[in-house]
Amino acid sequence: MSNPVNVYDARADHAVVAAESPLAYSYASSGTPAPARHSRVVMAERAFLGHLILRGGAIVIDEALREVLGLSLPGRPNTLTVADDGRYSVQWLSPDEWLLIVPGGEEFAVEGKLRQALGESHFAIVSVGGGQTVIELSGEAARDVLMKSTAYDVHPHAFPVGKGVTTCFAKTNVILRRPDEARWEIIVRRSFADYVYRWLLDAGEEYGIGVTRESHHEA
């Protein structure tokens, strides 16, 4: 029997190939106001990470994940597990679906190891990193900006660190999560990234929003 699934390393060598993050267009067309002293909210993109969608039963995937990354699968709805070093995270999306984020370039290897560990179980893994990006919000007014954008309750009582949800954001949908006390992460689809960027600039203007560009970002 032929290979049941086509696993494909779609990542190019970023040293040779000019990669563009989903916000490349927005930086050029809407600008990147630098954070200033009065900025009460700051936005930064975490681009080119490896994003894997894991589908299947929680028990087997949990085992595989522990084996491969030493990370335990969040079993409870709307929760997020972040590895101690912050480089790996896995988030509950649905009773049979999780989002695993790994450092850029590791996604193919991780997928391979997970598939190996999962063996014959019913599962699926799909690499989706080219189609989405992570936008980080920090600063005292981050929560106000979010309140303007999503009807999900972002009050610390309702949205503690370690929570993550898929929800409406303005007129699109995003994954919203809190990896730690200081930051919110918004995971947005590539084709909607410019809309979300413009929205955030507009909604954050009142708080002097600034944009930080990552040093390793290829323009």
Binding site: S2, E20, I53, G130, D144, A151, Y152, R190
Partner: protein
Amino acid sequence: MNQPNRLAQGGRIDRRQPLSFRFNGQTYQGYAGDTLASALLANGVDLVNRSFKYSRPRGIVAAGAEEPNAVVQLGSTPATQVPNVRATQQALYDGLEARSTNGWPDAQRDVMRWVGKLGGPFMPPGFYYKTFMAPDSMWMTYEKAIRKTAGLGSSPTAADPDRYDHMNQHCDVLVVGAGPAGLSAALAAAHAGARVILCDEQEEMGGSLLDSRAQLDDRPAAQWARETLATLAEMDNVTLLPRTTANGYHDHHFVTLHERRTEHLGETAVSADGHRPVRSRMHRVRAGQVVLATGAHERPLVYAHNDVPGNLLAGAVSTYIRRYGVVPGNRLVLSTSNDHAYRAALDWQEAGREVAAIVDARDAPEGDVVERARAAGIRIITGSAVIEAKGSQRVSAARVARIDREAFTVVGQVETLACDTIASSGGYSPVIHLASHTGARPVWDESILGFVPTTVAGVHAAGGARGVYPLNAVLADGLDTGVRAATALGFTAATPAAASPHCEAPDEGPACALFQVPHEKSTLRAPKQFVDLQNDVTAGAIEVATREGFESIEHVKRYTAMGFGTDQGKLGNINGMAIAARCLGQSIPETGTTVFRPNYTPVPFGVIVGRHCRELFDPARYTPLQAWHEANGAEFEDVGQWKRPWYFPRERRTAEGTRLETMHEAVVRECRAVREGVGILDASTLGKIDIQGADAREFLGRIYTNKWQKLAPGRVRYGLMCGDDGMVMDDGTTSCLAENHFLMTTTTGNAAPVLEWLELWHQTEWPELDVSFTSVTDHWATMTLTGPEARKLLAELTDIDLDREAFKFMDWREGHVAGVPARVFRISFTGELAFEINVQAHYAMHVWKALFAHGDKYGLTPYGTETMHVLRAEKGFIIVGQDTDGSVTPEDLGMHWAIGYDKPFPWIGKRALTRSDTRRENRKQLVGLRPKDPSVVLEEGAQIVFDPDHAIPMPMVGHVTSSYYSPTLESGFALAVVKGGHQRMGESVYLPMADGRVHEAEIVGTQFVDPKGERQHV
């Protein structure tokens, strides 16, 4: 500075901050803390508007949201106009500019008043239903005149310079209204630990406490309010929203609060710290429990000429005196049915002006305030009421008489008391608007002579909003309600130690029921007695309506227009109901109430819209190549939310100089490039769904009309999808990536619906199948390289063997393009040799640019959707949604080859194909059309007939779905659906056009170019 009615001291205004404003072109002075209404009254401006129907002079009646008359046009520029602002709710700011909404040339000299005066008698309710009918054709002429006289304010004529936004809020307990009940409730709930939002519509929180004479815990009520607010402000589980009106109560305790952030500061929002604040903000609140501490509105009495300026609500008189330091006249007559209104007379007298008399409808009033009035030497006339006001532009006297409420008659002599102000009070109506938004019908409470809300889980009315009026009871009720709301959510309320402040219980006598005051003449013969001041609805109008058979209160309202004004009948509805009840010989509860609808007070469209306007009205979705398209001059087409390059006009040199190509020129050039050289299309918008699982193949067989059992890895197949009604829903190619792994493509617009469709069937009908679906639309960028030179160009950049035998049509291969890992699909939507290159979207720009770096020598030409359409139509490839419309089956499209009639599973759509109507011979079927005149490009949407000489209505047999000029054929051509078209090859059809021309066309097959399909196989 001349403010004749301003007291030297008192009130909550700031006399150190004088403000200047203009009303109807006159400049006046007021103070910070004034409303426009209080400032106008301070300046002795009596006449603020003309009425809607009769153009009668009108003055300020109330001090809050219930004001019907003082509706003004605000703003000094075309862009900053705000129509229909209630002067009683508009804070004064320096430079405010306002004018009356009605009256020409102005409210003072209004000429329409003659129409109102002379024509009034001829305008009974519904007079327009009875006139202006003859002849029918004239109505539009009459209508024009009628429209001009109607309306209140004027729309702005330029776009709004301000911005608005939304804030999504969540709380345990929302308290609406920061008067005594609301403050107590908020305090109780907050002490119990609940997340509390307290909002209040006024400029200053405190409600009735702000002008109360009561002492709470031995300090003035207003001071207690200030201290309580300070306590609340310090609690981090409390959000205070002043200047914020709860306008709509929606399902499951979702309440919209409109916060006016800058309207008290100026007509546009002014920058602060270099940032532009929003003019106003809508808080979209999801609450666990809601406390409605919205208070009560005073009801005026309905007597003759009760609309002349100088007729005010008793409570409003007190508010103007105590809160704004304004006495709106010199000599007062108070007409009341209850104790509470006596305050107005006491306040008036304390302000140093004269009280002519208190006219009390009760025979033996006896409460504390009555005694105080007596002690103050005020004349009290009992068993009587003001039956008529005299005066034209301002009250000059009150006609007072003894009345028999039961018999509804005037008894004995009428006494005329000279005065310039008549204050009236017929009791109070709880503000139940929000409670009734959810559909809960209010009930009549005879003990308070008002409607109170019915009990709904999670909604608590407190204080005046449920007919509890004495201040001590209101405070206790608020506290109790706050505790109940919090405990309902599981919070443990502290013992009411933080209990209500001590407050002397007043000794109040019972009120009597009085709505319309009888007159010596019958209602229809007496001078007008107004019920709804804004819409000029009189007691007589209500009587006429009931006589004409309008017996339901809804009919009365609609026939007379009562309650349809911008005040929504806050002042008049209960009086109207009482009058209707009297006319019909029923009680008020038998007559019924009406259901209030949002909004409580009008809300600007802009704040409901929020940031969802202009470029953020709807997301614009971009492919990773957007920047290149823009830089290369693309014109864009909206496809769903996507922006897709439509065509790429180039500069063209002509005798007159250079200009951009027209679309036609660009498309001809782009088409030729593809048919003769090589073109490239950004196809990244296509929906892409990754499908994995042991049953993926079985699933595809159930969802698609055609067969999937034998599609081998490395191969691609076209698939057609139907609904279970048998109508074509979507199409696209699906590739077998591996035995249990497929990549499905969908049309651009259907990506999300198709994914949901797959999930629907999997989750609801076939959960046993091992298959899962993940959208990868955004993950992959797709570039279609097509044309006879495509292979040569691609070969320069790829390690994939492009040999026609090694990489056949409908194969896909893996490899690299321009150094980027790529999946390349040999599928063709143009009929030419084509390679669809899929790379992870990060690298799309790199690959695209690399192709162009190598493509010059082959004439690589970017093309857009228009050229794509021409090329695919030449090949007879359909576009779902353009060539189909929800009434087209695969058979209608002639796509029998894509229907697996003998598949074992009864796939979606199969059964419907054998219904009697789907079996009909003469269904509309997809065919090609070749215009007889090759220079003609048929109109898309042109209707097709067999007999062009048939009289209208002509039997139509189909329509043109796609039509273009083909540079390859050098003629126009079209796709169309025609009744029985598949059996009519070679026949002529006719297309009658709007301009009278009739085109003739021949029915032909749908493949115009390369019908054997050789070119795509090269």
